[in-house]
């Protein structure tokens, strides 16, 4: 009686969470019995992890946050989430920091038990390998790459088995391979995978050692080769191939061979990657070519969202694509209309300037001319800019509704005229006028003369830095909209286009943070225009505390991430991506975190008001 005591509550709980639901009833009981329960209090700050004794931590109640050594956010965890698995899987000290956001009860599973559970269920094993891959991928993205990590082998494999038996001759193998134009064969015995033969085997195990074509396949094949299930991840396959230094991997479904995965397949799968697309853009010689490439951007965006890339990273990648498109259009235009009569700068504003473009961003661009043009010279620049703006529109970057484009005569002028514009905005500011001109202060050089651009930028920053009246006016603009939080921390909902009540994550979220960062950057004469970069530059400045800067950075990433995830879901349902999120569509933990993020925006706005507006507005 005492021996088969089970704590049913724990077992029932485990049986409901992925991947424990895949365990057999006996193993589930073993798991429940082997658990230790710990309680973490937010007062103690973070979870002390004992790397000599790695554990799987299962969050039962409470909320936690995982950050890497550099303090970058890797994961936010609530009920039913896990941490600690990277150390369990790799046996290494991972040195992530787990902060306790809300007190909580955590179930612990030690290495020995974790191993038993992984052995019991392939599903369980794969779940944690994937979770680990996902974390790894985030890490990789931070250092600049973005591998398509959660693509399954199934989705990529061309199914079909070209096979022979071990008792066939090598000459048959060679003939079959050249007929089918393939580099390897699957060898089946009684319908089961017995081995593989590759073209390299024909070279090194047959010809090089003087065997002839009559040799049996059995004598030269690789017996019991490594194989992988079709439900596995491409990432796992590519790990396996590089670990064992092999180029061919038989793929199984229910233990039957369904195809062969090769390194070429993996390389080909990278083709939808940004780097590849940018390379393609630079090779296009016609507008039509560019337009057809741009049709692949939405799929790329979807895959980036699906792979949980950071919002900042996605914004940067989308901007790199539109930057490349613009540069290629300028190049094609100059080829068509001839060399420009004198140097110019092509500059971009707004989201492209800040490098945080999303799906459906419009175009905001202009030209700085190095000389005052004659009518003929201006005709050239007009033609060129119309070509580029039209091309961008055709590629999905619609014409700017406010006409802020180089093809508009007003925004295609010499340096002196540009300086005049900024002088007027800065010297006689009014919040109403600034509402429409604030995007000009997020400007970036995209192509052409660096010198011209720098002259303008230096001029602007010199005028804004420490300019109390102007900064106060800009602060007024930044305060004209508030985050969607009411009394008692309740969400305040706006109506979206379809008359549903929802949160506007752009205008009441990310845009507010962009506005706040812009005010501080201009006040401090910071030349960066990307909001995260502006915030980074503000670290250590007296004007804003380190805590406020970090909270704003986190809030921007979190709200941006929620916005992208939501747009990904909308796109998957065939809807037009919007900025509206229904709070009911997300989990309690996420709602809680979203409120925290809006709180951070709210408190930063209050700080801004105190510092700059002195009750002017």
């Amino acid at each position: 009686m005492t021996e088969d005591i089970e704590i049913t509550e724990i077992k029932d709980y485990l049986s409901q969470i992925v991947p424990f639901d895949s365990l057999s009833p006996e193993t589930l009981s073993r798991a429940a019995k082997g658990i230790r329960i710990s309680y973490f209090s937010s007062a103690s700050g973070h979870v002390e992890i004992d790397y000599d004794n790695p554990q799987l931590y299962i969050v039962r109640t409470g909320a936690f946050e995982v950050r890497d050594k550099q303090g970058e956010l890797l994961d936010r965890l609530g009920e039913g989430d896990f941490f600690g698995f990277p150390s369990l899987l790799t046996g290494e000290n991972v040195n992530n920091k787990v902060t306790i956001l809300e007190d909580g009860l955590v179930y612990l599973i030690d290495l020995e038990l974790f191993k038993q559970l992984r052995n019991d269920s392939r599903e369980f094993d794969r779940f944690f390998n994937r979770a680990h891959a996902k974390r790894m991928k985030r890490f990789e993205q931070q250092v600049g790459s973005s591998a398509p990590i959660n693509i399954t082998i199934e989705s990529l494999l061309t199914e079909g088995v070209v096979s022979l038996s071990p008792d066939d001759k090598i000459v048959d193998a060679a003939q079959l391979m050249s007929e089918q134009r393939i580099s390897s064969l699957i060898i089946l015995e009684h319908g089961q995978l017995a081995g593989i033969v590759t073209d390299r085997d024909l070279r090194s195990r047959v010809l090089a050692v003087g065997l002839d074509g009559q040799t049996l396949i059995r004598d030269v094949m690789t017996e019991n080769p490594s194989s992988i299930d079709c439900k596995g991840l491409l990432f796992e396959a590519s790990m396996m191939m590089s670990t064992h230094n092999i180029h061919h991997l038989p793929v199984l479904r229910d233990n039957e061979v369904v195809g062969m995965l090769t390194t070429t397949d993996i390389v080909r799968s990278q083709n939808n990657q940004p780097i590849f697309l940018i390379g393609e853009i630079n090779r296009q010689q016609t507008l039509e070519g560019l337009v057809s490439l741009s049709k692949r951007f939405p799929a790329l965006l979807q895959s980036l969202i699906a792979s949980d890339a950071r919002a900042e990273e996605i914004g940067r990648i989308l901007t790199l694509l539109s930057d490349s498109l613009t540069r290629q259009l300028l190049k094609l235009g100059e080829e068509q209309f001839g060399t420009p009569p004198f140097p110019y700068s092509w500059i971009v504003f707004g989201s492209q300037g800040r490098m945080d473009q999303t799906a459906g961003s419009d175009q905001d661009n202009a030209m700085i001319l190095s000389q005052t043009p004659t009518p003929e010279q201006d005709a050239y620049f007009k033609l060129l800019s119309e070509f580029v703006c039209h091309g961008l529109d055709a590629c999905g970057y619609i014409y700017c509704p406010g006409e802020i484009m180089a093809q508009t005569d007003k925004w295609r002028v010499d340096l002196k005229t540009w300086q005049g514009y900024f002088k007027k905005w800065v010297d006689t500011p009014s919040p109403e006028a600034l509402l429409n001109t604030s995007i000009f202060f997020d400007m970036r050089l995209l192509s052409g003369s660096e010198e011209l651009f720098e002259l303008l930028q230096t001029f602007v920053l010199k005028k804004t830095r420490g300019n109390q009246i102007f900064i106060a006016s800009m602060a007024g603009v930044a305060l004209s909209s508030r985050p969607p939080l009411g009394f008692f921390g309740k969400f305040v909902l706006d109506r979206d286009g379809e008359e549903n009540k929802a949160l506007d994550l752009k205008h009441r979220g990310v845009a507010l943070i962009n506005d706040i960062a812009r005010v501080y950057a201009l006040a401090e004469g910071i030349s960066e225009v990307n909001t995260q970069a502006r915030l980074d530059k503000l670290l250590g400045k007296a004007i804003l505390s380190e805590k406020d800067v970090k909270n704003l950075k986190d809030a921007l990433e979190f709200i941006g991430h929620m916005r992208l995830k939501n747009q990904g879901k909308q796109a998957a349902r065939g809807k037009k991506p919007s900025n509206y999120l229904k709070p009911g569509d997300i989990s309690r933990l996420l709602r809680h975190q979203l409120k925290d993020a809006f709180e951070a925006v709210h408190s930063a706005q209050n700080g801004l008001q105190l510092k700059f507006t002195r009750g002017l507005f």
Partner: protein, 229 residues
């Protein structure tokens, strides 16, 4: 550290002299070091199910326990025993769901108590409204061994009562029920009236209370006990 014997220690010495059974002697002499920190000590969360509330008339029918070692609840050492009562279960089955027919493999009270004491040796007893559980255990000890036993008790109900009254609120007794206390800390729902489930819920409650009392600092068993009187 005091050089004089405390009342509790003196009690143990005297009871140790009375005890005849060597295992019982060991239990009695194995005192708990209350100056140890919670994170470096051993406790045993216990819950008893009875046929009623009067230790003189009613009987223990089930025991459940789970240890808390170095601040962690160890499920591998959780136990639940059914005890066969001398007078039958009677009407109390409606509360704990244990019927006479379930008691075929049940232990005698003596066997049950022996196992419980073995698990409790050197450990501080944790219970919710522990006075009741202890009165039943003392009644059993008196009957079986002819004398009482020394227990060090941390009572999660008393801790909660103190915490609530410190917050200056006048509170209803209902707020001190195990279920209500667990709910207050956002802990998983305790299924009431199953000895082991309640012992586990009590253990989790204590973890949450200790976190709240200590504010993340080191806290000794003695300091926790101060809250539970």
């Amino acid at each position: 550290m005091s050089t004089n014997l405390s009342f509790a220690q003196l009690n143990r010495v005297l009871l140790g002299l009375k005890a005849k059974d060597p295992e019982l002697k060991r239990f009695i002499r194995h005192s708990c070091d209350l100056s140890r920190s919670f994170k470096h000590s051993e406790l045993l969360s216990v819950d008893l199910e009875m046929t009623g509330l009067d230790p003189k008339k009613n009987e223990v029918i089930s025991m459940g326990w789970v240890p808390i070692i170095n601040g962690e609840i160890i499920l591998a050492e959780a136990r639940q025993l059914l005890i066969s009562p001398e007078q039958g279960v009677g009407d109390s089955a409606t509360i704990h769901g244990i019927h006479d027919r379930d008691l075929a493999n049940a232990l005698s009270l003596e066997q049950g108590l022996e196992q419980l004491l073995a698990a409790m040796k050197g450990r501080v007893l944790v219970a919710h409204h522990g006075a009741l559980d202890i009165s039943f255990l003392q009644q059993a000890a008196q009957k079986l061994y002819g004398h009482k036993l020394p227990f060090e008790l941390i009572d999660t109900l008393l801790i909660e009562a103190k915490r609530l009254s410190r917050q200056g609120e006048h509170f209803d007794k209902q707020l001190l029920r195990l279920y209500a206390c667990c709910h207050r800390y956002g802990l998983p729902n305790a299924s009431a009236h199953n000895a082991l489930a309640d012992a586990l819920a009590t253990a989790q409650l204590l973890l949450a209370q200790v976190a709240a009392i200590s504010g993340g600092q080191t806290i000794t068993l003695r300091e926790i006990m101060k809250y539970s009187h």
